[in-house]
Amino acid sequence: MLILSCPVCGVTAEETEFQGGGEAHLKRFGPGASEDDFESYLFMRENPREVHFERWRHAYGCGKWFHAARCTTTLEVFGTYAAQTTEPPKDLRDKISEKRPNWTWREFK
């Protein structure tokens, strides 16, 4: 069972306080979008080995959403960060590079 630190309220708690919310940084496509764009927005998801970016909600705590960068094989948590962003922050990406050189995830590396 994971431990996560909520970047919003500062609490570090066990997984039962949180709720997973799937892949991070999806770009919404609405009316007018092509079939391909809309399909990828709704259904296409990463299934990476190692570095992954996810959405989580501090369901039993402050109720806020945030992002987490995690290793899917070792379950190491590289960091958590605000939900109000469209990409992982630079310092976190650098930190991941130190631990997992050559990682890539979607357009990020």
Binding site: M1, L2, G32
Partner: protein, 1004 residues
Amino acid sequence: MSTRLATGGRLLNKQKALTFTFNGKQLRGFDGDTLASALLANDQMLVGRSFKYHRPRGLVASGAEEPNGLVNMGAEGTFEPNQRVTTTELFDGLTAQSQNHWPSLDFDVGAINTHLSRFLPAGFYYKMFMHPRPLWKHVYEPFIRQSAGLGCAPKARDADTYEHFHFFCDVMVIGGGVAGLQAAKTAAATGAKVLLVEQSAHWGGRGPVDGGTVDGVPVENYVDQIISELETMPNVTLRKRLMGAGVYDHGYVLGYEQLRDHAPENPGPRHRLWRIRAGHIVTATGAIERPLPFAGNDIPGVMLASAMRDYLVNYGVSTGDRTVVVTNNDDAYLTAFDLKNAGLSVPVILDARVLARDSPAMEQAKALGIRVMMGHAVASVKGTKRVTGVCVCSQAGEGAVLEEIACDAVAMSGGWSPVVHLWSHCGGKLIWDETQAHFRPDVDKAPMGAQGEAFVTAAGAANGALRLADALGDGDQAGKLAAAATGFKVRQTSCPVGDSPEEAPMMPVWLMPQGAGVKLRSKAWLDYQNDVKVSDVQLAAQEGFESVEHAKRYTTLGMATDQGKLSNINGLATLAGALNSTIPQVGTTTFRPPYTPISMGSIAGEARGEVFQPIRRTPMHNWHDAHGAEWEPVGHWRRPYAYVRDGENTHDAVMRETRNARENLGLLDASTLGKLVVKGPDAGKFLDMLYTNMMSTLKPGKCRYGLMCSENGFLIDDGVVARIDEDTFLCHTTTGGAERIHQHMEEWLQTEWWDWQVYVANVTEQYAQVAVVGPNARKALEKLGGMDVSKDALGFMEWADGHLGGFKVRVYRISFSGELSYEIAVDAGQGQAFWDALMVVGHDLGVMPYGTEALHILRAEKGFIMIGDETDGTVIPQDLGLHWAISKKKDDFLGKRAQERSHMTDPERWKLVGLETLSGAVLPDGAYAVGEGENANGQKTMIGRVTSSYHSPNLGKGIAMGLVLHGPDRMGEVLEFPGTEGATYKARIVDPVFYDKDGEKANV
């Protein structure tokens, strides 16, 4: 025979005798005994029958690894099967029965299987019960079910209580032997918060039995000393009878504490499951001695050498009068010495090794006058229910008998295997130690924690440091490492020095004698509990089950309740031998928690009975309960399904309530409907995105029914939205939808439109809400008085604040029944009083409360959809003919793009219609309409299904709604719905609005 000696028994309080019964026989033991030691003291060597062949089995071990000694314990509410006698502390009045035999332990019909064993090889069931197929269900499975399983399932409800406890520490040390104690002490000295747990009732592990000295002090005294030191340290928590059951991600450990198993008279919970978070974990879980695979190694009286020593030293029990010791290492000599010193006979030590010179142990044996036969082995054990002797052979040969030696016990030792379970649970890897012939933790491949750090360190025997001197140093090192890993400053301190004699190297023995023929191999047991022999594993390899995981499942090796604690390494070695491979190449099977079985009660904790689930109650819950409510679970809520009066059945009550709401006055507790306040300059814009309709144009004081869809276009919720003021809306959700829709709103606000100025608050439970429904609704409110609720003052789909009968209320004139209806919200703390007031004023107006079933019928009569009935997560509003509620003016709303996808606009999608049976009967809910032809799988073509179906008392017939292919274009057509019992229902497609099509009743 086994008996209690006059002296010895360091753990016994001989002043306190205890009485217990085994298979109905009353026996005596002492305070401090385990059930196993007490049985042995009463010469009850035979403790059970094996699983497959029903062979008589005796105690093999003295701890958690015991495979045979499983009993049914207790009776009625405290009955529990498969209790391990070696880890069950004796208490006065204990009752136990042996398992897996019929009619009795001494005479068991199933023992015929042992003579049939030639016909019951590995994989027998797989091979035998394949064909013919029909026999499986009617013959094979019932037969196997009857003969399978250990113990009996409890019949009575568990009378005990259980609980969880959350605990946090820097360093957790699992195992209270010398290595664990030393690790705890060293870690605690740095100031780290330390939790030290020991599964048994005693500190010191094997130390006090095996002897030696620490800094010149006997181990037993050293243990007492270190415990009293630890007890004074405020940063140390010590717990006995608490087993580290499993190690999980990020330093999570489950600890299983047995609070009352040894003292059932005490109050309180029986077990406590500790949910521990540790910064670093030290597994000082010791090692387990391995049996030697020789023919007849399962005959009662054959025991692990260390276990025999335990019974002798700890409990003053002798296993036999004449004990043959058979070994491949020096450690087993200790058993011979202890037996000899207790005045018992040791006719011979059979040592499989051939050594260049004697080790100190051998010299001591000879000095004690014990005959030592090097290079010798047991060819076979004689006896059936009890050992009567052994046939001696050369280890190097094929088992030619050189000599027969009479004895009534055999002490065996095949070397020691570290208990690596907890290390391995969360991914710790193992390496093969050639010298000691065992797997031990690979320190370079430890389990990884939240920061990518190693979070488990193995110490002592669990790390392969088997000798006292090594174990102490290893524990000290582990303590330092653990403290440093959790950020504490470690000072270089000296470690106490242990003294134990030099040992000669052990020699791996995977078969005894090494050239044993098939006859001997098929009586050489690997897994006692599941009856797996050397020959079975060899057969598995021969038949191609080469992967260790396959061989395990094919033979069931290590799959019993002991999970192969004794058998796995011997089994792997046998498999490796059969495959001409090496043990590390074959590898181990996966270690999974818990270490030993834990009670289901402890896992459930407090979540039993009344608090199994959090039931949610409205402010009027107790009133409903007192007035005949039958409950319907809606999410975690309980809503009255119907209020059943004396002399009525449930159906009668539903019919009465439904009619009365149309004819007089009905009251519905609608408190469970969600109420979300949405406020801010962008609230209108936000709700336009969330609902399919336009909400921003709603005028303050007005209400509008709205639909909500997911981004996939599917309906997720509906409800009435009231505009409170320019910036504020109040959104009603379905029962059980409040939290979900609140979260849905927050998700979009927090993660997509975070620059929009909107706040949401869930005020569902602030209000009790009552629907006052029926032709007399207005009269009832007028009798309460306080505000104008006339048609002109409060029109349909309007709301107003005011007072009724002195209660501060908000009144919504909305209707889910088609009747004149007001939904009235009052503060929850006055909900019951308000309900009471309505019942009083309604008395002369024919008031009756109604439940959810009447609610359903009323809405179905009007063709109103219900989320969860007409929708199932694959239905879009267009399917339900709700085009009028989908704005065409809006550029965007959640689900809009999805509803434009080709599959969503497909004219073949099933559409909502009303259904009326020709006979007036009620269609089965969920029934499918069948059409012409068959689909690709040869099934009848489905052209529709029933989504809601009721008997309408107001119309006097069955009414239903359903989704039907081209439904709205087929009005008047008759469809066929096959039922479940051969009957077929014919129903005509009609308009879904069955009652008051023009809505005149609500418009008054």
